[in-house]
């Protein structure tokens, strides 16, 4: 059964994506890295997303190797610059 994963873009990545979020459909068993690859394959500005960005899964920093589950919220996190 395919997964639908809500994906958030912030700051420079949102500028690249042209939108703050996207729903991405992935095959069961997909990992976060598959989500990133899938977005980059959309081409256009998405292709300029880095191949291995920092990511958050359900609002915690995560690994690209983490396996996705239905209902996950993934965020692509550009290098941070708070303070």
């Amino acid at each position: 059964m395919p997964l639908i994963v809500r994906t958030l873009f912030f700051a420079a990545y949102r500028d690249l994506a042209g939108e703050p979020s996207a729903e991405v459909e992935l095959p069961d068993g997909a990992r976060v890295s598959d989500l990133v690859a899938c977005l980059r394959e959309r081409g256009g500005a998405f292709a300029r997303l880095p191949p291995r960005p920092a990511v958050a899964l359900n609002r915690c920093y995560a690994s690209l190797e983490d396996e996705l589950r239905a209902g996950d919220e993934v965020a692509l996190i550009p290098p941070v610059a708070g303070g």
Binding site: A11, A54, A56, P78
Partner: protein
């Protein structure tokens, strides 16, 4: 007692200090991050701060909890502002108090360093001559991995 929040309204330094006052404490320390009028020689007219707000609130809370352990008290208030800030406005305020000074300096410094390292916040500089750019920040830490499916 410790408090860590993202705010849209201006940060009030006096209120931050008052929030950590304690008659048992001999040292109070207030750090303010302020929007500068130039960066790398370019005149800046302001900075827009953007946050992954739900996650940033969690991360800021975790940082402050860790700092409380260093400090030995829970007298910490941190406010990080988001939105459009003008030159001279406060983007980050960190107030701590403790019985003795060493812990106050250590905890305050810990918070600012961790904010820079891992708070999911970004800033876009707006230049006096026109144009704007996202500041190249720090690569945040990778997570521990979620482990096998339950």
């Amino acid at each position: 007692m410790a408090r860590a929040v993202l705010v849209r309204e201006p940060i009030d330094p006096a209120r931050l200090l008052a929030s950590v006052e304690d008659d048992a404490h001999g040292a109070a320390l207030l750090f303010l991050g302020v929007v500068r009028d130039h960066v790398a020689g370019r005149a800046v007219r302001g900075i827009r701060y953007e946050a992954y707000e739900e996650m940033a609130a969690d991360v800021l809370g975790a940082i402050v909890t860790e700092a409380c352990r260093l400090l030995g008290t829970d007298r910490i208030t941190v406010e990080h502002r988001v939105g459009a800030l003008a030159v001279g406005e406060v983007s980050l305020g960190i107030a701590v108090s403790s019985p003795h000074r060493a812990e106050a300096y250590d905890a305050s410094r810990y918070i600012i360093e961790e904010v820079k390292r891992r708070l999911p916040v970004w800033k876009q500089e707006r230049y006096a001559e026109g144009g704007e750019a996202w500041v190249e920040g720090a690569l945040p830490p990778a997570g521990p991995g979620r482990g096998p499916r339950p």
